[in-house]
Symmetry: C3
Subunit: 132 residues, 3 copies
């Protein structure tokens, strides 16, 4: 098991963590199996997304904010209700097949951490590789 720890720098932000996931798979020594990427946070998410165009990340964040506006009326006390809802909508874990020692991402596909209530000094992502 590998735990990533990193800061975030913006209120909302998408970070491509594919290189770190790939490295964790290689370091595990497991050639065939699956890789689970998971975040224990409830105002962040883990999901798969296009890895090439920075503009698309802005599009995703802005589409999410349109559906879940941070300034809507919420029963939750505090200012981060929208961040919790975005997190549950985008998900906290993905499972990726591992083949010949590598996660089987597509050419244009990456694993992302979505920050919805930043900036934060430390966010955690757990990577677990299972042989099989």
């Amino acid at each position: 098991m590998k735990t990533l720890k990193f800061p975030t720098s913006h209120k909302t932000q998408l970070m491509d963590i594919s290189a770190e996931v790939r490295e964790a798979v290689i370091m595990s020594g497991i050639k065939e199996g699956i890789c689970v990427v998971f975040t224990p946070h409830t105002t962040g998410s883990i999901f798969l997304f296009e890895n090439a165009d920075q503009n698309l990340r802005r599009d995703l964040l802005s589409a999410l904010s349109k559906v879940i506006p941070s300034d809507a009326q919420y029963a939750h006390v505090g200012s981060n209700a929208a961040a919790h809802l975005k997190s549950s909508r985008m998900g906290a874990s993905v499972s990726i097949p591992v083949h010949e020692g590598r996660p089987m991402f597509g050419k244009w596909q990456g694993v992302f951490f979505g920050e919805f209530d930043g900036p934060r000094q430390e966010r955690e992502v757990i990577i677990k590789v299972i042989a099989g």
Copy 2:
């Protein structure tokens, strides 16, 4: 493998099943691996969400209903089209790393069953722990 069976009491409802998941992991005797939580229903969901504030659950249900209103025009015959759509949007399975015999939930994070077409006499959730 452990199967939970429980009734639901409202039309839409979020139920925190983290304690049951934790117990299933402990009972499996598996110390390191992953835990898959899955529901075989198509008008309910399994997802990770904030575990402390009941108000936030209302916020999530109401945000979902705003995007997928139950009284919109649907091609589906019957009254539960919106429930099916909500279920597919929120997902039916999550995978959680297991470390030292426990699922690695965050402090504020729980696994939830989302009921979108209740009340129901019996809903099922399947918990499968894999060593590795």
Copy 3:
């Protein structure tokens, strides 16, 4: 590991691949474990959904297009920004428990490939079964 390859015939489309997933589980010879279904594409998705009513598939596609319109203003250059956003929202992987050699789908539940930027000559879905 089993890789499905198939064409899609419409701009947006939901395809029930449950039979192929079931067959891959049987062919794996694994009786107890989990099955991960994954797509390496960023304009398609894998998710669980109701398997009986074709109308409901149209409802899902149209509900998605209402929230993420293809003709909205996007920063992404090109015409498929909405397809990328839909893909990330619906997810690219699901994990299903396997019991007595079969994936534990519910009676009304199937695994779907969602095409959001078709038609395409070849789409890929990877099915990995892990014993445990």
